[in-house]
């Protein structure tokens, strides 16, 4: 094999002569490798944050729960044996559950809390329906009643039998077994009891219970997550047991736990061990393994019908993690799409730069050829140069990426570096070969036509290939979507850099190139038509500009780079804007207004009065009070459903909706006083369990009869996407159900100010705050930032393409202009002619490019699964960011206004006389 001979001085000399363009190539490679190298690891880091966030905010859904039955305590000869060491038994149970966990899973869970709870009892005194539960909590630091409460009155619950009788046998069917409990200050006040008092309680079979208050406690840290498992121990909780009910709780101690066991039937007391996830221990890598372990754990856990004390596992954590994993996958896929777009723009600009460089070098290269340097040698020399530039620049870019990101991704930097390294020698040898071939066009017209036709055919073949690839990519995107196939389970982020995902994620980029080619097909015809018009017109400048434009219209690379970059920039902008709009819509849906005030049930705030006060504040358009009950129990003819029940003044609610971008609910007009079929209600459900026309019943507590409802229409979505039942407040009151509003929705520009002061016992949820928080959520923020950055980089690439294209055409353009100047064209006019030449492709890029980008966004928004990142049920509607697209277009047009004077200034010092000297020109 003959090694190509490198002539070092020529390599060095050429590099020195063209330092500017080479530096430009280096800059493009460095910037794009920086972005491509840093974005994936940054996104991976945000994916970890997202997983932690999800675990943190999942609440009880994130908990892993183990249940186990108690061992039967029947005495061999009848009766039940009191088990004085029951607390130790619970400790053992906790240990057992911990031991049973896979170590990998245990590593991401906090130390468990065991919780023993009684069934729900009813307080028989008082008008408002109140419920009561007994609970015993124990975590690694010991039972709660001993370590983390202060007894402000009375004493901790004690055994109800003296120590010498602690293991006595209680006959079946005796009187209620006495049990002591502690109450929080708020619960005690609510019940109006003091230490020593008995709470009048019955179970669901109306059997009385003997529950005595031993003391009143105050939690040392009411924020301790352990309390989360039984919040009603600390304060009354509204709605936990149906509309209009309040649940309270009594705390058991190790001493009174055995009595609680005897106070209830064999299986009535529930014991569970609850593990909360430790968000800090999770990341997107471990999440996948944890999900798998959880699925196995649930699958192998004993069936609930088995009458033994084995552990039964229950958790939604796998679903929570899988959901966030899906979001991570979607975000990485969308990031791939954006990066593919940036890479496409960069590769086109690099090709353009290489072409420009090769044109500048045609003469020295042709001279080198004539001196006897072979084409392979020339190519090798050029390759040495461009590879050096590309490698150094890519190295710098990746080093910078390492500085700003926790890691570096090589994968995406490779195509840029390759394009930069290969384009230089490619174009260089091509131009050198062409220059040394006999360049004279054949005199024979037929031969000339044949040459032109082959050239056209070659071009058309390339275009068809790109078109086919783009169409295939779009089809693939629509068929399999951007997310990894569900069969593959929860794949880690960026694990899909295989060929399977590469085609769909490059669909927008390929689409932009194909669309740009199609647009540019029209450009020569367009400029020819313009030329015909201009030649007929009497405006000399138009004629000259159009003539030049028509001559350069067939040179496709510069406008291709511009149009594709503009299209992809607009695409990135539209993607970002659509996601952002989806977030904004989501915030409206979640809050339901500009602000939502949620009453703390214990505080007893009069929300109706509060609504009145807020409504009177300046800048408030609507303030509507409602009672919102989550998980309200409603029975249909065949089933029990637990929708969100909204009791509200229907007319006011409709006025409120009219002041929001939320969809109007005309059916609200149908709500009103009860008719023969019952109280009219609007219903909404995702699975069809609630449909207009249905007859529903709203069960009530105690002896009161259930309220009949008729579904007369479709309810608006209230605060999310779940099932909703809306009833008019006045109608429900008339039907005998007390309505206590716990929510106020406020709209209007003055909302923030009106609710800023806050009210004790009321939580304020501002829509702006919710939106801010969601925009700031790790994945979302990362994706939005990437979208904006990509748009900016693509715009810069597009403008660079414009500048390079202008530079490429400048020698010929100004040669013609100098010739026109010798014929009397003024310098000012020459600038106009130059602008007229540059304008057609730039106008296509400025106008056609963004339109193409928006079209691509419409074509791909659905499969790109923005809904997953935004957290919406359906695809957010495509939002066209005119605020971004208009400046994008303007930037291109303005660039012409910059390029032309710069070109003129550069040539100003060259006198016309010189330009036209023999040989020059």
């Amino acid at each position: 094999m003959i090694r190509p001979a490198l002539h070092r001085p020529s390599v060095r000399g050429r590099a020195r002569a063209d330092a500017g363009p080479l530096l430009l190539v280096a800059a493009v490679v460095a910037v794009v490798t920086l972005l491509a190298g840093a974005a994936p690891p940054l996104l991976r880091a945000t994916a970890d944050d997202a997983v932690r966030d999800a675990a943190r905010t999942a609440g009880r859904d994130g908990d892993v729960l183990a249940h186990a039955r108690w061992e039967y305590d029947d005495a061999p000869d009848g009766g039940r044996i009191r088990a004085p060491r029951l607390a130790e038994d619970v400790d053992d149970f906790r240990e057992r559950a911990t031991e049973a966990l896979d170590p990998g899973l245990r590593a991401v869970l906090r130390p468990p809390v065991a919780v023993v709870t009684s069934p729900t009892l009813k307080v028989t005194e008082g008008t408002a329906p109140r419920t009561f539960r007994l609970a015993y909590l124990v975590d690694g630091r010991g039972p709660h009643s001993q370590t983390r409460v202060t007894w402000v009155a009375g004493s901790p619950p004690a055994p109800s039998v003296p120590p010498e009788r602690e293991s006595l046998t209680v006959p079946y069917g005796g009187p209620p077994w006495p049990v002591q409990i502690g109450l929080s200050e708020v619960d005690a006040a609510e019940l109006g009891v003091r230490p020593g008092d008995r709470i009048p309680l019955v179970d669901e079979f109306r059997r009385a219970k003997d529950v005595q208050v031993s003391g009143v406690f105050r939690a040392e840290d009411s924020g301790d997550p352990t309390w989360r498992l039984a919040p009603w121990l600390l304060r009354p909780v509204a709605g936990a047991d149906g509309v209009g009910t309040t649940r309270l709780g009594g705390l058991l101690s190790p001493g009174s736990l055995p009595d609680a066991r005897l106070a209830f039937d064999q299986d009535e007391l529930d014991r569970a061990v609850r593990f909360s996830p430790e968000p800090g221990a999770l990341d997107s890598g471990t999440a996948e393994a944890v999900t798998g372990t959880l699925v196995t754990l649930k699958a192998t856990s004993g069936a609930s019908s088995v009458q033994d004390t084995s552990l039964k596992w229950e958790t939604q954590l796998d679903l929570v993690l899988r959901e966030v994993q899906t979001r991570v996958n979607a975000a990485s896929a969308q990031a791939s799409v954006l990066l593919a777009a940036v890479l496409t723009g960069a590769v086109l600009v690099l090709l353009l730069a290489a072409d420009l460089l090769a044109r500048r070098r045609t003469q020295p290269l042709a001279a080198a050829r004539q001196r006897g340097t072979g084409l392979p040698d020339l190519a090798a020399e050029l390759l040495v140069e461009s590879a050096a530039v590309a490698l150094v620049a890519a190295g710098v870019g990746l080093a910078l990426a390492r500085l700003v990101a926790p890691g570096v991704s090589w994968w995406w930097a490779v195509p840029v570096a390759l394009a930069a390294a290969a384009a230089g020698p490619g174009f260089g040898t091509l131009h050198a070969a062409r220059a040394t071939r006999d360049r004279r066009a054949p005199a024979n017209r037929a031969a000339r036509r044949w040459l032109a036709q082959t050239r056209q055919l070659r071009g058309a073949a390339v275009e068809v290939a790109v078109l086919v690839a783009a169409a295939a990519a779009l089809v693939a995107l629509h068929q399999r979507g951007i997310l990894p196939a569900p069969a593959g389970g929860a794949a880690g982020p960026w694990s899909t850099s295989d060929g399977e995902a590469a085609l769909p994620s490059s669909a927008p980029a390929l689409g932009a190139v194909a669309g740009a080619l199609a647009l540019l097909r029209l450009l020569p015809a367009g400029t020819r038509a313009a030329l015909r018009w201009a030649l007929r017109s009497r405006r000399p400048l138009a004629a000259f500009g159009a003539a030049r434009a028509a001559a350069t219209a067939s040179h496709a690379l510069p406008p291709l780079a511009m149009v594709a970059a503009a299209a992809l920039a607009a695409f990135a902008l539209t993607l970002g804007a659509t996601a952002d709009r989806g977030l904004a819509d989501g915030a409206w849906r979640t809050v339901g207004a500009d602000a939502r005030l949620d009453a703390n049930p214990a505080a007893g705030v009069d929300m109706r009065a509060l609504a009145g006060r807020v409504a009177a504040s300046p800048g408030v358009r609507q303030a509507v009070a409602a009672q919102v009950v989550d998980g309200a129990r409603v029975t249909t003819e065949s089933a029990l459903v637990t929708p969100r029940l909204v009791v509200v003044d229907a007319a006011a609610f409709r006025r409120l909706l009219a002041t929001t971008p939320l969809p109007d609910a005309p059916d609200l007009a149908r709500l009103g006083p009860a008719g023969p079929g019952g109280v009219p209600a609007l219903v909404r459900s995702g699975d069809g369990s609630l449909r207009p026309g249905m007859r529903l019943r709203l069960p009530r507590d105690g002896d009161a009869e259930a309220v009949p409802l008729t579904a007369v229409g479709t309810a608006p979505a209230v605060g999310g996407t779940g099932d909703v039942v809306v009833v008019d407040a006045a109608a429900l009151t008339a039907a005998g159900v007390p309505v206590v509003p716990n929510t106020v929705w406020v709209t209007g520009p003055g909302t923030a100010r009106a609710v800023a002061a806050g009210t004790d016992g009321v939580d304020t949820v501002l829509r702006a705050g919710v939106l801010h928080e969601r925009r700031g959520a790790p994945l979302t923020a990362g994706l939005l930032r990437l979208a904006w950055t990509s748009a900016a980089v693509l715009l810069a690439l597009g403008l660079l393409g414009l500048a390079l294209g202008a530079a490429e055409g400048a020698p010929e353009r100004w040669q013609t202009l100098s010739r026109l100047r010798t014929l009397g064209l003024r310098l000012r006019e020459a600038r106009w002619v130059a602008a007229g030449e540059l304008l057609p492709p730039v106008a296509v890029a400025a106008i056609g490019g963004p339109l193409l980008g928006v079209l691509l966004a419409y074509l791909t928004a659905g499969p790109l699964a923005l809904r997953v990142v935004v957290g919406a049920e359906g695809d957010p509607p495509v939002a066209v960011p005119w605020w971004g697209i208009a400046p994008l277009a303007a930037a291109f047009l303005a660039a012409v206004a910059v390029v032309v004077p710069v070109e003129a200034a550069v040539r100003r010092r060259r006198r016309l006389g010189e330009v036209l000297r023999a040989g020059a020109g």
Partner: protein, 225 residues
Amino acid sequence: MTADLVSVRGVHRRFGSGPASVHALRDVSFDVAAGTMVALVGRSGSGKTTLLNVVGGLDRPDEGTVVVDGTEVTALDDDGLSDLRRSRVAYVFQTFGLIPVMTAAENVGVPLRLARVPTVERERRVELLLDLVGLADHAAQRPDELSGGQQQRVAVARALAASPRLLIADEPTGQLDAETGLSVMALLRGVVESEGVTVLVSTHDPVMMELADRVLRMHDGQVSC
């Protein structure tokens, strides 16, 4: 005609500065009578192109004045020079200087467009001029589809389009073979006769000099008759 169309007085032109500077024109003075053809001859590097550029307003002298058709060229600003070239002075270059993206007819029409001559009139005049230079059949061809001699004849037709008073030709036959060159020279000679244009032409060719009314010899930046 006796009046001088061109009057050059004490023109100096230096290129560069310091020891490397070139004194291309040294105190050049001469007159050209209207309606004559004057040949400028001299060795390569003697300053012919520099002088023609200065006379036609494509370059400015460091010293001295140039008056063309009663206008002091050396006192004109950039726009004034453009107007001068638009209406009264035309060029024919050694390298032809045609606009590659336009046909022969369009090239010839350029000065008429710049002068905003109505379309119909422009087309008539272009036809006439192409006829004059013998290229009526090649009107629709682009420069790269024409031979060198044809291109130069298009350039002459274009130079004549706006009916200039002065036609400056810098080695118009430099890139042509002897016979073609002669025909272009003869064309210029004919133009002087038929259109009354004054022609200032630089050349190396002794045959061409014979066609001229007068020969100016340049040597080392100086003119002698």
